[in-house]
Amino acid sequence: MADPQPGTGERRQSEQERRAYYRSKRGKNLAVLAALVGFAVLVYLVSIVRMGG
């Protein structure tokens, strides 16, 4: 029997791949954000300690 909607399976697969890609990209973006915020806080605290010493 012919596929009622040709290419449906492929579209679903590509949609899943797209979602997985954006999910991993989002995870990386959040990690970079955490690293940058952490660095800014660290520089702030180190500055206070160094100026205090």
Binding site: A20, Y21, S24, K28, L42, V46, V49
Partner: protein
């Protein structure tokens, strides 16, 4: 490395490259070799804690963070360069680059940026002696061990092992701003510990290394010569490990434990020399990690009574 193994490695790495872009945060963490990093951080912490002086806890934490990032960065660059042999060896073929989850260029950039970042942060926040030592350790691991020695000589991990011995010196320099005989002895302990540790692994992974064309001692000189060399290093390490107690950076607890662990390490090497199966080197490899961990833990514990008031301010 032989051309054919390199070709296979490049082929496998290229086959996986189609899935690049799926890299998750855990892949970047894997590039930092977290298990190696943990031992590096621990020995660096020991160097920092036994050094005379009491650094501000935040500065001490930044120094340890820099050692961790620097070690991880060197690991990432190592994975970038060794991606062809990693793809051939069963122990390493699951790494992010051979699996195609991280692009090689991305891993290189990641390693270089983190390496520079860790050295700069160490220099600005802690001091430039510690930063210079951290930079030297990273450069040694990447240029001397990874790029030059690893694929050329069976003495690769003897000389290259020096890179892994730097952390106690960096920790010490982070506190004092300089070096002394005691941190050099700590360097010597890890330097002498490295060959039997890695050769134990190489003995039961010799086939893997041979396939990849890495001239580890068991591949080039044979298992028997390797076993003798391992025993020799453990015998030399035996009287060196208790030296920090004589130099005044550790007490009797450390000296006693260093001697006991040293004797057990020698016993492991003798067991490897006698036994002809794979289990003895496996046991020795496991014990070698425990040895270094307990030795540096004893160093920290021995100094702990004097440390706590200093860290509390």
């Amino acid at each position: 490395m032989s051309d054919s193994a390199a070709e296979i490695g490049r082929g496998v790495a290229a086959a996986g490259a189609g899935r690049a872009g799926e890299a998750a945060v855990r892949d970047y963490i894997a590039l930092l070799k977290p298990r190696v990093m943990s031992l590096v951080v621990f020995t660096g912490l020991a160097g920092l804690l036994v050094a005379p002086g009491s650094p501000h806890p935040l500065i001490a934490a930044v120094a340890i963070l820099c050692i961790a990032i620097g070690a991880g960065a060197a690991g990432a660059i190592n994975m970038w360069y060794d991606r062809d042999i990693d793809a051939v060896m069963s122990r390493t073929r699951g790494r992010p680059i051979p699996q195609g989850r991280v692009e090689p260029a991305e891993a290189l950039a990641f390693g270089v940026v983190l390496s520079l970042f860790s050295v700069m942060l160490m220099g600005l926040a802690v001091n430039w002696t510690a930063a210079a030592l951290l930079g030297l350790a990273n450069a040694f691991y990447v240029f001397v061990y990874t790029l030059w020695l690893k694929r050329r000589t069976p003495q690769n991990i003897v000389i290259g092992g020096a890179a892994g011995a730097f952390p106690p010196m960096i920790g010490w320099a982070a506190v004092t701003g300089g070096l002394d005989l005691a941190p050099l002895v700590l360097f010597g302990i890890i330097f002498l510990w490295t060959p039997p540790h890695f050769w134990a692994l190489a003995l039961y992974r010799a086939g893997d290394y041979a396939r990849a064309g890495v001239p580890m001692l068991p591949v080039v000189a044979g298992a028997e010569a390797t076993r003798r060399q391992m025993l020799l290093y453990t015998l030399v390490l035996l009287p060196v490990a208790p030296l920090p107690a004589l130099l005044g950076v550790a007490g009797a607890v450390y000296a006693g434990l260093a001697l006991l662990l040293g004797l057990l390490f020698v016993a492991c090497a003798l067991d490897v020399l006698r036994a002809r199966d794979e289990r003895a080197p496996r046991r020795m490899f496991g014990f070698s990690i425990l040895y270094l961990f307990l030795l540096f833990a004893a160093l920290i514990v021995d100094r702990a009574p004097g440390l706590l008031p200093g860290l509390m301010g």
